[in-house]
Amino acid sequence: MDDSDLAQGTVEAPARAGTIDILYFARLKEVLGLGAERMMLPQAIATAGALRAHLQARGGAWAVELAAERPVRVAVNQVMAGADAHIHPGDEVAFFPPVTGG
């Protein structure tokens, strides 16, 4: 896997022990300047909501775009989930704006 795979939002290499893959789509991907990343899952983070708060603490665009009042949706392992959804090492967690297809 190289960075271009991550930028495309396709993470095919198996996750290393303790890591999660995080994907960003649409406006979030554009404003954050990042389509995907792999990170060690801090032990204190057990839910999608806690992960969002963790990412928001990076500051700058992260603080703005992931602020609690922003309508950010989350999917865990490619299924729509709530902020209380549990996350585990090896999971794929995606953050994106409300969908606008159809």
Partner: protein, 150 residues
């Protein structure tokens, strides 16, 4: 395949013919075709680009189709959703449902569209004279989808 995500255009007549497959048990076909408009929120739109979540989209739409099949007595259903860059008057999406009678076909078709609008991971970006912008989700779409719960 009952769910297709593709860049290519589609032929509604050919798709419906393939879906009904000459089955004499089918007494009704309901279909919806979504098109690109040349105006949104008061601004001219010259083109739109549809992004999606490749790993999730197919499964998410299939789940919606499966839910429709569990709720109504329909024979079959087809969803085609395009991605990539589209221009005004282009076709975006086709939902077609076959059934014995019109009631179930109409309802299932509308249900699939309403759920697709709020649960399938697609995002539209539109090009206007002032530049490009992401389309905001509409609360009316949530209201439409909520009709089917409870």
């Amino acid at each position: 395949m009952p769910v297709r995500i593709q860049t290519e255009d589609f032929d509604v007549g050919a798709e419906i013919a393939a879906l009904r497959h000459g089955d004499p048990a089918v007494g009704a076909i309901a279909s919806f075709v979504g098109l690109v408009r040349d105006v949104n929120a008061g601004d001219r739109v010259s083109e739109i680009t549809l992004e999606h979540y490749p790993g999730m989209t197919q499964k998410a739409v299939q789940e919606i189709v499966d839910e429709a099949k569990s709720r109504w007595n329909i024979v079959d259903a087809l969803v085609i959703h395009r991605i990539g860059t589209l221009r005004p008057a282009d076709q975006i999406v086709l939902v077609a449902v076959t059934g014995a009678h019109r009631g179930a076909a109409f309802a299932a078709c509308e249900f699939v569209m309403d759920y697709l609008k709020t649960r399938a991971p697609f995002w539209k970006k539109e090009q206007t004279p002032a530049g490009s912008r992401w389309v905001d989700a509409r609360s009316s779409d949530d209201v439409a989808a909520d009709r089917w719960t409870g």
